[in-house]
Every structure is written in structure tokens, then in C-alpha cells.
């Protein structure tokens, strides 16, 4: 008994001394990272424990942990929008000195990802994270259906061009509505599984894919936080109206509160011709193509401009961790080009230039070129410390208009601006 007690104590003491805990969302890339990290443990002898939280609870769980100065996590792969809060409220360790000391250069990473995942204030040279997982909202489609001559000829007869990767959102609508309610192989199919989720960030991430493509800006580039005429510009209004049209004409029945998993399910079960989702899921979708399903992938279509909704995360060291040195060692290891290449090979989306600029990269997978295209045109939601306060009114107003059919697009955007002004005023920005 005494021996058991001593051995338990020893184990506990050892594990405390040489282990760190990494927090992230529970999804495919997290499993890939767990696999990759075995190499880190083998090299350094440092155990890495993982805590993966399902997406619907991810922000709540992690932000509560940070706000409570919790020590559960030493490393956190947090959403891009958290970087402002992480820096301003002192949750994340500033990494500049560490990068300088270890010779890690942000010039080695894709500029868009450095800007989005690492810097605060935006565009400054203050780094609070290393770009870890590049991501953007994109589209997957049923290439096997598109390749059927009878479907293509019927579509061409109606619209005057071939079924294929849509060149813009109007073509996307044409194609989605073409499949809506159509019987294929004895089953009723629908157009597109798009983001409509109400609770966290789903519908905002979806509708902004359209708004960015229409050329929406959040604020006056010359006058920060001046949103009138920008966020609710005629183009932005048109984009929101279009998104509602896409939902009404092309979404499968019951797709009124759907995000990542629901979109994947609708696609994998053969209900829809298109799904909107993050690049992070494409390795899994591609790998699981079976029963004749062949998936194609493409970047967010342009309308007035080429743009895509940014996803992805940077990896940060938590300020409240007692093991910052071990956590930094992990970041040093993760930043190595050879590790970044393995990260991509395992299904993670590396942001390292050596990986992205490699001649073989665009053809390494069917979605690699789309990823490259997307990362050059990404736009993100507010990354302010108050981003949750900014996100919630948008979720409510957009869901009310798109799914609930209440009011007008202009009314919804005006209402959002009204709430945002209140948030910025409370935060001393206005």
C-alpha cells in the first residue's frame, strides 16, 4: 500500500515537472496535432496533455478559464478573434523577446496569418501567438453529380453555361437552386448546407462570406469605428439579402440552426450538392469520399471583390501558466520548418512559407490550391477585446432576418451598428 502511495506520488511529481497542457477545439486537426506532438515528447521528454473542447462550448470554456486566470492550460490555440482580449487583458504572453532570442521570424509565415493570428494592435509588431492553423471558409461540392452529362446538359439548357466551380455568388445560387428538391438516384436532394447557427458564431461566419465578397467594410478606413455607410452600405445590404435568398431557395428543410457538424452531416449523408465549411474539414471529407461520392473544393466565390471569411488560430502561451518555459519550448519546436511540413502532411494547415511556397504544395491535395487562394483574400470579424459583445448582436439580428424572415437587411445591419456603437462607447473607443 505504502509502495503504491509512493509510486503514485512519484508519478504525480514527475508528470507535473515535465508535462504541459494544451487546449484547443475538438475537431480533426486537433487529432492530427496530438499525433504530431508524439515527436515533441520523444525529442524533449516533455509530455503534452490535450484538452479538446467541442466547438459549441469552446469559446465559453476557454474564455472563462482565461478570465478566471486559470492554470489549466499552458498553451492555448485560441480563435483569431481572441487575440485582442488575450493581449489587452494580459491573458497571453507577449512573444517578441522569445522570437528574437530563438531566431523565429514572423517573415517566415504567411503575412495574412501573422496579421490575423499573432498581432495586437492589428498590423503592429507585437506578437502574442505563433500562426498555428491557417483556415478560411470555403465550399465543397458533389463533383460526381456535376460530371453527370444529363444533369449538366439540363443545367446548361436552363442557365447557358456548364455546371462547375461557380465564378460568383449568382452562379452559386443558380447551381444550388438547380439541385434543390431534385431526385438523384432515387433520393431527394437539396442545394447547399450553409451556416445558420444562432448560438455562437455560425450565421455570422456564413453571412460575412457573402458580405466580404460584396465588398463590405466594417468601418471607415480613415476613421476607425465609424461604421455608418460602411457596414450597412448598399453592397452589404445586398449581400445579406442574397444570403437569405440562398437560405430560402437552397437549404435543406430543417437547416435553421446549422454550423460545422450539421453542414458536414448534410453533405456526407448525400442531402446536398454544396456545403459551406472550413478548410480544416476538407482532409476528412476528401478521405471519406465513398459510394461514388467525389468531392470538389473551391475558395469562396467572388462577387464584387475576391474575399473569404478567416478561420484558424494561433498558438499562445497562457500568462497564468507555471510552466511557461516548457510551453515556449513547444512553440520553438512547432515553428521549425520540418515540423510545419509534417503538420501539413498530417492534415493540419501550416502557415509557414517554406510549406506554402513549396512547388509541390498546390498539387499536394485537391484543396491545397483553394487554401492558397483563400489565404490571400481573407478578412476577419472584429478582433477587439470586446469581440463577444460584438458577435452576439450580429448573431441575433442576422438570424432574425435570414432564418426568421423578420424585418429588412438594412434594418438588421442598422440594429447591429447601434449595438456596436454602445459596445465601443462602453469600451472607451468612441
Amino acid at each position: 500500500m505504502i509502495l503504491l502511495f509512493v509510486s503514485l506520488f512519484t508519478f504525480s511529481a514527475n508528470s507535473n515537472a515535465k508535462s504541459i497542457t494544451l487546449g484547443w477545439a475538438a475537431w480533426d486537426p486537433a487529432n492530427a496535432l496530438q499525433e504530431l506532438t508524439k515527436e515533441f515528447t520523444a525529442e524533449t521528454g516533455i509530455d503534452v496533455n490535450f484538452e479538446f473542447v467541442p466547438w459549441p462550448n469552446f469559446a465559453d470554456r476557454m474564455l472563462n478559464e482565461l478570465n478566471n486566470k486559470g492554470k489549466t492550460f499552458d498553451l492555448l490555440i485560441g480563435d483569431s478573434q481572441w487575440i485582442g482580449a488575450g493581449a489587452v487583458y494580459g491573458h497571453y504572453v507577449k512573444l517578441n523577446d522569445f522570437f528574437d532570442k530563438e531566431g523565429i521570424s514572423m517573415n517566415d509565415f504567411s503575412p495574412a496569418t501573422v496579421y490575423a493570428y499573432s498581432t495586437w494592435p492589428k498590423g503592429s509588431e507585437n506578437y502574442y501567438a505563433l500562426p498555428a492553423m491557417g483556415d478560411a471558409l470555403a465550399w465543397a461540392y458533389r463533383k460526381d453529380w456535376f460530371d453527370r452529362p444529363e444533369l449538366n446538359s439540363e443545367f446548361k439548357k436552363k442557365h447557358g453555361y456548364d455546371l462547375g466551380v461557380p465564378a460568383n455568388w449568382n452562379q452559386l445560387h443558380d447551381m444550388c437552386s438547380f439541385f434543390q428538391g431534385r431526385e438523384i438516384d432515387g433520393q431527394k436532394r437539396y442545394g447547399a448546407a450553409i451556416n445558420t447557427e444562432r448560438g455562437s458564431e455560425g450565421i455570422t461566419m456564413g453571412v460575412t462570406a457573402a458580405m466580404y465578397a460584396w465588398g463590405m467594410e466594417y468601418e471607415n478606413p480613415n476613421k476607425p469605428y465609424d461604421m455608418e455607410g460602411f457596414f450597412n452600405s448598399p453592397q452589404a445590404v445586398e449581400a445579406v439579402e442574397f444570403y437569405r435568398k440562398l437560405y430560402e431557395d437552397c437549404a435543406p428543410p430543417g437547416h435553421s440552426d446549422a454550423y460545422m457538424v450539421a453542414n458536414l452531416d448534410a453533405y456526407k449523408s448525400g442531402q446536398v450538392a454544396f456545403q459551406m465549411n472550413w478548410y480544416a474539414f476538407w482532409p476528412g471529407v476528401s478521405k471519406e469520399d465513398s459510394d461514388g461520392r467525389v468531392s470538389g473544393f473551391f475558395a469562396n466565390p467572388k462577387q464584387n471583390v475576391a474575399a473569404a471569411t478567416l478561420g484558424g488560430q494561433g498558438i499562445s502561451v497562457v500568462k497564468y501558466s507555471d510552466k511557461q518555459d516548457l510551453a515556449l519550448e513547444y512553440i520553438k519546436w512547432f515553428a521549425r520548418p520540418d515540423i510545419q511540413q509534417k503538420w501539413w502532411d498530417l492534415g493540419g494547415y501550416s502557415c509557414h512559407n517554406d510549406v506554402l511556397n513549396s512547388p509541390s504544395f498546390p498539387t499536394s491535395t485537391v484543396y491545397a490550391q483553394g487554401f492558397l487562394d483563400s489565404m490571400g483574400i481573407v478578412k476577419d470579424f472584429w478582433q477587439e477585446p470586446t469581440f463577444v459583445e460584438l458577435m452576439l448582436p450580429m448573431q441575433e439580428a442576422i438570424h432574425d432576418y435570414v432564418v426568421n424572415g423578420k424585418g429588412t437587411a438594412k434594418g438588421a445591419l442598422d440594429k447591429i451598428i447601434e449595438e456596436w456603437v454602445e459596445v465601443f462607447e462602453a469600451d472607451g473607443k468612441l
Binding site: 486566470k69 487583458y89 494580459g90 435553421s256 440552426d257 459583445e389 452576439l392 432564418v403
Partner: protein
């Protein structure tokens, strides 16, 4: 000194305090202190996530803001609507089921057990599996409705007209057994001689129900509705899982909005004021209700 001797020296009052002391301490620590703290916070501009920012006294500003916010009144309206329909349906169906089960027939006990099963489930689980039952493509609910009359494809939780009913239906399904059980206890406490005397006086079944059954069971029914009313005023988990408060804000109850303001937007001062207003509302209604209930009992 023996234990017996030691306790012999304690007065009755001291022993009483010894027993109730831990409960009083826990009540003070877990209920009263947070309540007082929340009331204090409601007069400040405190944000729990803004570390290092000292809360400032803002007087009644938060209360005025809450009471003047149109969206808050919309949420209160949604809550009132939800409460009205759930309580009405649970009272009528619960009483009906209790009257049915108060009769002696074969399988009575088995049927009672089956009927009370829903209220033993976790509300969050109920919310999740009803999303599947309401699915327009594969859901059993839509299939059953269309079996009786073909309404075509309809989305219970995606339509602003149907979504409020979707949460009323689930809550009624889950909690009617509770009302039924309490009414059943009331029905079984009615002495038989009252019915025998009514028979002698040639009272019809309807008259027996109106003049004996209903007055006897009414205090029990009102008590059940008081419990359900308090619970539904703070309803959260089932609705969040089922609709997330959507579509838009069609099913966003006051409690869901409060959680979003307090623990997502972290507007601690503002949400404390909102919580105090909700507390005073339910406390006030509860008191009036209990007084009315006591008057009915006295009659």
C-alpha cells in the same frame, strides 16, 4: 467529561442552533451573500472580464437601461407567452390525466409509471432529442402530424411562428406528469363520504366534479402551478438545446438573455440589475400567488 454530560449543559435553544446552524451558514454563503453582492454590483459598471478595471458607482443607470431597452421587453413577452401556455396546458392536461388515473382499472400503476417518465429525464437531453423529433425530414413529430393531415414539410424550430410552440409542446410533454401527480395526491385525499352524500342528494357527476372534486383539488393544482411557474420563469437548458433562443430571438427567454449578457458579454453590472429585476418580479408574483392560494384554501 462524557459526551452525555457535555450535551446535558446545552439549552434547547443551543441544540436547535446546532442543528440549523450549518443550514443557515450555507444559506447565507450560497444564497444571501451572492444576492447582496449582485445587488451591489447592479449599481456599478462592472465587467467581470475586464481585469484591473475598478467598478464605478453608476446609481440607477443599469436599471433604467434595462427597463428602457425594447429588446428586454421582447424577451419578457416571450417568457410570459411561454409561461402562460405551458401552465394552462399543464393544468388542463395534468388534471385530466389525474382524473383518469384516479379511477381503478387494470394497468393503472404501469400507465402512471410510463406517464411520469419524461419528467425524470435531463432537460438538456430532452432538448437535444426533440431537435431530432422535430426534424422536418426524418422527425417523428412531423411524420405523426402529417399522418393525420398532410401539412407538407414544416420546420418547427426554424419558423418564428412555430418555434414558440415547439418549446411549449416539449415543456408540456415533460412536466405535465408533475402536475398530474400532485393533482392525483389531491384527488386521493378527498373523502369518499362526500361523494356518497352527493349521491344521496342526487347530484349529477358534473355537479360532483364542480362542487366537490374541483374545490378539493384546486389548492393542489395551484401549488403545482406555482412550482412550474417558478421553474419556467427561469427555464434555460431545454430551450437552449432545442432552439438556442432562435430563430432570431423568437424563443429567447429572459433567462437565456440574462446568461448571454452576464457570461458571454460579461456586462456584470448591467446583468446584475437585470437579474435583480427578474428576482423581484418572480418574488412579487410568487407572494401574491401564495396569498391568493391561501385564501382559496381557507374557503
Amino acid at each position: 467529561m462524557s459526551v452525555k454530560k457535555k450535551f446535558k449543559g446545552l439549552s434547547d435553544k443551543a441544540v436547535a442552533w446546532l442543528f440549523i446552524g450549518p443550514s443557515v451558514f450555507l444559506l447565507l454563503a450560497i444564497n444571501i451573500y451572492p444576492l447582496i453582492y449582485a445587488i451591489r454590483m447592479s449599481f456599478t459598471n462592472f465587467y467581470a472580464n475586464k481585469i484591473g478595471r475598478e467598478p464605478q458607482f453608476v446609481g440607477l443607470k443599469n436599471y433604467i437601461k434595462v427597463l428602457n431597452k425594447e429588446a428586454i421587453w421582447e424577451k419578457m413577452q416571450v417568457t410570459a407567452n411561454f409561461m402562460f401556455w405551458t401552465l394552462l396546458l399543464q393544468a388542463v392536461i395534468g388534471l385530466g390525466l389525474a382524473l383518469l388515473l384516479n379511477r381503478k382499472f387494470k394497468g393503472n400503476e404501469l400507465l402512471t409509471t410510463l406517464i411520469v417518465l419524461p419528467m425524470m429525464l435531463s432537460p438538456a437531453v430532452v432538448g437535444v432529442f426533440w431537435t431530432y423529433l422535430y426534424n422536418p425530414q426524418v422527425g417523428l413529430f412531423n411524420y405523426v402530424i402529417n399522418f393525420f393531415h398532410d401539412f407538407g414539410s414544416f420546420d418547427m424550430i426554424g419558423s418564428s411562428v412555430l418555434a414558440p410552440w415547439s418549446i411549449v409542446i416539449v415543456d408540456t410533454w415533460m412536466w405535465t406528469p408533475f402536475t398530474m401527480l400532485i393533482c392525483l395526491a389531491g384527488l386521493r385525499s378527498v373523502p369518499n363520504y362526500l361523494y356518497e352524500a352527493a349521491e344521496v342528494d342526487r347530484a349529477s357527476k358534473w355537479q360532483q366534479f364542480i362542487y366537490i372534486t374541483l374545490p378539493s383539488v384546486l389548492p393542489f393544482l395551484l401549488l403545482a402551478l406555482l412550482f412550474r411557474g417558478i421553474e419556467n420563469f427561469k427555464m434555460f437548458d431545454m430551450v437552449v438545446e432545442l432552439t438556442s433562443g432562435g430563430p432570431g430571438s423568437a424563443t429567447e427567454l429572459a433567462s437565456i438573455n440574462l446568461k448571454r449578457e452576464a457570461f458571454e458579454k460579461w456586462k456584470t453590472g448591467y446583468s446584475s440589475a437585470f437579474a435583480v429585476i427578474l428576482f423581484v418580479t418572480i418574488f412579487g408574483f410568487g407572494n401574491v400567488y401564495v396569498k391568493v392560494m391561501n385564501k382559496i384554501k381557507e374557503r
